[in-house]
């Protein structure tokens, strides 16, 4: 039992990047926990000012490599709302498919390569023995299917090129969609196996919190109302009335509270609040696994991600089979002064882009609210709550357990991996 100790974790790496953790334990009690997001700021909020709206979505796509399509799409929505542009029905369908491709790829990377090594008790995918070759092949097949869906629909999986204000510059051909449908169908069984693995995993850490998500009619991540597990229903335009910025002096990312309380966004929040709108095939085949929701177990975030992959596959197949995509003229787009708010569900939770444009169509003011920043306060409190439960473990295992808790949130692609470097500086009483 470590009665007193200081844990200084340097470079938890990035938030899609770097973070550090400092923990102080005295007489068996946690005195202080500091989760410091140390990813160096690139100041997009300031740099986007005075940019013309046409270049804004591609520019802010560069906020994040792994979920760039989420930033791109959210920014498109903000610009369109500001200018009063209504995207065509086909554009909305193609956006859903682009988002689904990103979700499949992003969730699959997190689950197969960051979380499975914990379950298989190895350091990394590179240490999987021959007996795991099959699941590694499945992992790349699932990830590849998401990657290819984004490439065909949006041009690239990272910093996609086809999406533009109100329309797409390229429309997938019938031949391309047939290949996609075949590929998506071929990986569906692999995803059912993945769901079972995360359902059977016995990792657990429960703590009550408020869950917040954009509630969509078809679990498509793109439109709807913001809702919380304590009954709040908020229109997208009113988002700022309920979110409060919390400056965390030791962190390069601000934290947020929702109606004054810590909260969680992401797959677990979506599954707790909106699972009834999953695709009917997903609901049928994941019926047994959906029984655990609603859940406060942070590790069920990973089960929720696996179920979301299945939904993205099922709904994509349906959309691709039922629709023939045709070239269409882009809507007229004209500079206009105003304010627009884009709200979508990114892989890690609700993402907000707010833009104010001047008469010439240049950005006067911007506000971006990122999912990992919203989860920051809850993550820190979870770490504080889990430490007393693990103080009798070895330092190696404490280290590992703290990593697992943070990783369960999938805070971002690179920092969700094995990133803790602990400097131990303990005193035993």
């Amino acid at each position: 039992m470590h009665d007193s100790m200081d844990i200084n974790i340097e470079q938890i790496s990035k938030t899609e990047g770097h973070a550090d953790l400092e923990v102080k334990v005295r007489s068996g009690k946690v005195q202080d926990v500091k989760l410091k997001i140390s990813e160096n700021k690139r100041f997009y909020t300031q740099a986007v000012r005075n940019r013309h709206f046409v270049s804004v979505p591609q520019f802010v796509s560069r906020i994040c490599g792994t979920c760039s399509i989420a930033h791109l799409t959210c920014s498109m929505e903000a610009v369109e709302k500001c200018l009063g542009v209504t995207p065509s029905a086909q554009t909305e369908l193609l956006r859903k498919l682009a988002i689904y491709g990103m979700m499949i790829r992003d969730h699959a990377l997190h689950l197969y390569f960051f979380c499975l090594p914990d379950i298989f008790k190895v350091d990394s995918v590179f240490e999987f023995d021959k007996s795991k070759d099959q699941i590694v092949k499945q992992a790349f097949a699932v990830k590849g299917a998401g990657n290819n869906l984004s490439k065909v629909v949006a041009g690239r999986a990272v910093h996609a090129t086809y999406e533009r204000i109100g329309s797409f510059s390229h429309i997938p051909s019938g031949e391309e969609t047939s290949v996609l449908i075949k590929e998506l169908k071929s990986v569906r069984e692999h995803v059912l196996e993945l769901i079972k693995i995360f359902n059977d995993c016995d990792f657990a850490f429960n703590r009550n919190t408020t869950f917040v998500a954009l509630i969509t009619k078809d679990y498509s991540f793109l439109e709807g109302k913001i809702q919380s597990s304590n009954g709040a229903v908020i229109k997208e335009d009113d988002y700022w009335d309920h979110l409060s910025r919390v400056v965390i002096p030791y962190s390069q990312a601000v934290g947020f509270t929702f109606k004054g309380d810590e909260f969680m966004v992401g797959a677990l929040a979506r599954m707790n609040l909106n699972r009834n709108t999953l695709h009917k095939k997903t609901r049928k085949d994941a019926r047994e696994f959906l029984k655990v929701f609603p859940s406060n177990n942070i590790y069920h975030n990973n089960l929720a991600q696996a179920i979301e992959i299945l939904h993205c596959i099922d709904h994509s197949i349906q959309l691709l089979e039922e629709n023939e995509f045709k070239e269409e003229a882009p809507p007229a787009v004209k500079a206009k002064e105003g304010r627009g708010i884009g709200v979508i569900e990114a892989p890690r939770g609700t993402l907000y882009h707010m833009l104010e444009l001047d008469k010439a169509g240049k950005v006067k003011f911007a506000n971006f609210v990122i999912p990992t920043a919203q989860n920051q306060i809850k993550m820190e409190k979870d770490i504080a709550a889990v430490i007393p439960e693990i103080l009798d473990m070895t330092k190696h295992d404490i280290h590992h357990e703290l990593e697992k808790v943070v990783r369960a949130y999938d805070p971002c692609m690179s920092c969700a991996s094995h990133f803790l470097r602990i400097k131990w500086n303990r005193s035993f009483v």
Binding site: R49, V125, S414
Partner: protein, 163 residues
């Protein structure tokens, strides 16, 4: 398939969006089992917990350098590798991670407290302003065909051959 020895590589990331890391991992969809035989991923924090940055054949470095700690680390990487390859736009040119370099006075004043608090450098720099860079694979994200072609070239240079 056996190889006589493996190319010892590190994959590092500094200030950027890590888009090229993403592209690199997506290339594994087709290349993983081949690379497992040819490459020793000695440092790859995105995928590994136990990492070693010493005695590398090649360090692939993504991102620009924005604070003093990053500057020290990239110099240490340089000392520990035979070849350093800049990956993606931020590493090769500094942009877009270096956008604060061209902020006007009032915007600069707005962000100054963060620069001070987190020990940022006066300006954000591309890698070649800090260390010797042996090769550049540009793009935002990097061009995957160029990367694959260069990797083949490096494997030949270091005498890594299929046995």
């Amino acid at each position: 398939m056996r190889v006589s020895k493996k190319l010892r590589v590190g994959w590092f990331s500094f200030t950027c969006c890590e888009d090229s890391t993403m592209v690199f991992i997506e290339l594994m969809n087709d290349k993983f089992f081949e690379w497992k035989e040819l490459l020793d991923f000695s440092y790859f924090r995105t995928l590994k917990g136990r990492n070693d940055m010493t005695d590398l054949d090649i360090a692939f470095v993504e991102g620009a350098i924005s604070n003093k700690k990053e500057e020290e680390t990239v110099k240490k990487i340089r000392q520990n590798c035979k070849k350093l390859v800049a990956i993606g736009s931020c590493a090769c040119t500094g942009a877009p991670a270096n956008q604060r370099n061209s902020f006007d006075k009032s915007t600069r004043e707005e962000i100054q407290f963060i620069l001070d608090r987190f020990d940022h450098r006066e300006k954000v720099s591309q890698l070649s302003e800090i260390v010797k860079v042996d090769d550049f694979i540009s793009g935002c994200p990097m061009d995957e065909k160029v990367f694959l072609s260069r990797l083949d070239q490096y494997l030949k240079e270091f005498g890594i051959a299929h046995a």
